[in-house]
């Protein structure tokens, strides 16, 4: 199967990557090339095979639900593009 340009534009929107119309044909070609190549997996018989989610062979560990760290607000916002009084400043989202 092959993706149309609108489908590639939709994936770009879902991925929140601006894709100018002039780049759409090239990206569509590249994505289809890769998807065509990975399509060979459909030939493998995987009936009854459980998906391998992790090779670690263990269930994820749980810890006590207690506070283990805190008080690092200043460090956490240190790399923010914009910050104020230990808060992240983000674009206005509510009109």
């Amino acid at each position: 199967m092959s993706l149309s340009e609108p489908e590639v534009a939709k994936a770009a929107r879902l991925a929140r990557i601006a894709l100018p119309p002039e780049q759409l044909p090239a990206m569509t070609g590249e994505v289809n090339g890769i998807l065509g190549w990975i399509a060979k997996l459909q030939a493998v018989n995987t009936d009854g095979v459980e998906p391998l989610v992790s090779v670690s062979g263990m269930t994820l560990p749980l810890r006590e639900d207690v506070v283990s760290a805190g008080g690092h607000a200043a460090e956490i916002v240190q790399n923010a593009p914009e910050q104020m009084e230990n808060y992240f400043v983000v674009p206005k989202v509510v009109e």
């Binding site: 993706l3 770009a12 991925a15 990206m27 990975i38 997996l41 995987t46 090779v55 790399n79 674009p91």
Partner: protein, 491 residues
Amino acid sequence: MSLTNLTIAAALKKLRAREITATELVSAHITASEKLRGLNCYITETPEQALSAAKTADARYMAGNPLPLDGIPLANKDLFCSRGTRTTAASKILENFVPTYESTVSQKLLDAGVAFLGKANLDEFAMGSSTLTSAYGTVESPWKRASSPDVKLVPGGSSGGSSAIVAARGAMGATGTDTGGSIRQPAALTGIVGMKPTYGRCSRWGVIAFASSLDQPGPFARTIEDTALMLNHMAGYDEKDSTSARIETPDFTSGLDKDIKGLRIGVPKEYRPEGMNAEVAAEWDKGAAWLRDAGAEIVEISLPHTEYALPTYYIIAPAECSSNLARYDGMRYGLRVAGKDLTETYENTRAQGFGHEVKRRIMIGTYVLSAGYYDAYYRKAQRVRALIAQDFTRAFEKCDVILAPTAPSTAFGWDEKSNDPIDMYLEDAFTIPASLAGLPGISIPTGLAKNGLPLGLQLIGRAFDEVTMLCVATTLEMAAAFTATPTIMAT
């Protein structure tokens, strides 16, 4: 002997015997790194930190209580977060990112006394096999092709800055990360040793994530012993990484000089596809002969799903990368490029912050995880991954360690791959299957091709049996007696 030609083990002996000081050793490597600047191995150099670490190390040597790797100058891949030092993942989106914490692996090395010379260049977010995708310029391999010395070659990737600086004698060792071959392939292309430990052996905490079910930190060095010495101070359980293995860390140097008599070495028949590079195939045969001569038994094994490993990887890795890289939204850290509303700000930030290969993988990942395609692509790939892992489990009933080539050819030029991304993806054909199965692998330099460039052989071990793999690696290292050095060297 020049200080930059020493192995880590030899340098430690001299340091402990007080024949040299850590400051002399580190200074020699800083000078070397300056001379090698044209190779573009580092994104950020940290000579002051290295000298300060050397001074502290010297005080401990004077006091007679040195740390295990005190004063050893290493390069640190710029994917490991370092407290107070810019960490970019070779991406523009993290151009000004200064972590406030240190990755577990680099902290363990610092606790062992090492001096980090700088943050080594890599493919953007570790996505590549050449360093061509770095936003900070490509790394040049210190090796030259005999027939065309003017052609700039790649040092492999993604950990290409690490491999190039160690090969060129600018650092005694380096950290790397391996998701589909990013330690083993660059080691092979630059004539050094590179090892990917078992998934879960080294903590991923503080390592900028690419594909979390595959990413694994590991060491680069010029000998097996140095590799094992470094791994001793990188491995270990870490409660901050939920997939870190709760398993004892052995002394990885403990079995190096053991006899391999009676060990069974598996040679997978599917790793010899039609049209395989003849010199790579011959090198592989030579490796098998060396191990046979040393008393091992060579057995043919079958890994029947090998041909599906690359497509499986190129579904799973992009899927995980699209999820992991969703965090780069321009809100909490990294680049922000304003748009007319929030969505456009996200889209502009990510369009300008990410390079082309990263965008392409995020797009593929987003698509294979999207509603309606999840089962056909992602679930299917996870099922095939189970079959690939099962191939190895069955193979290890017949053998103890697997011998294979590391890379399909010697290093290639900056402009020698086609525009087809799959052409580059094939670089990792021999390394990706073990990655999908979470197994340890190591590349050992064993010889030169007719073009004068290094060839490496790969060993793959059972999960958490790095000790046996390192023992066989030492046998190969001794038999190969690889002493060739790159054209460009610091000394």
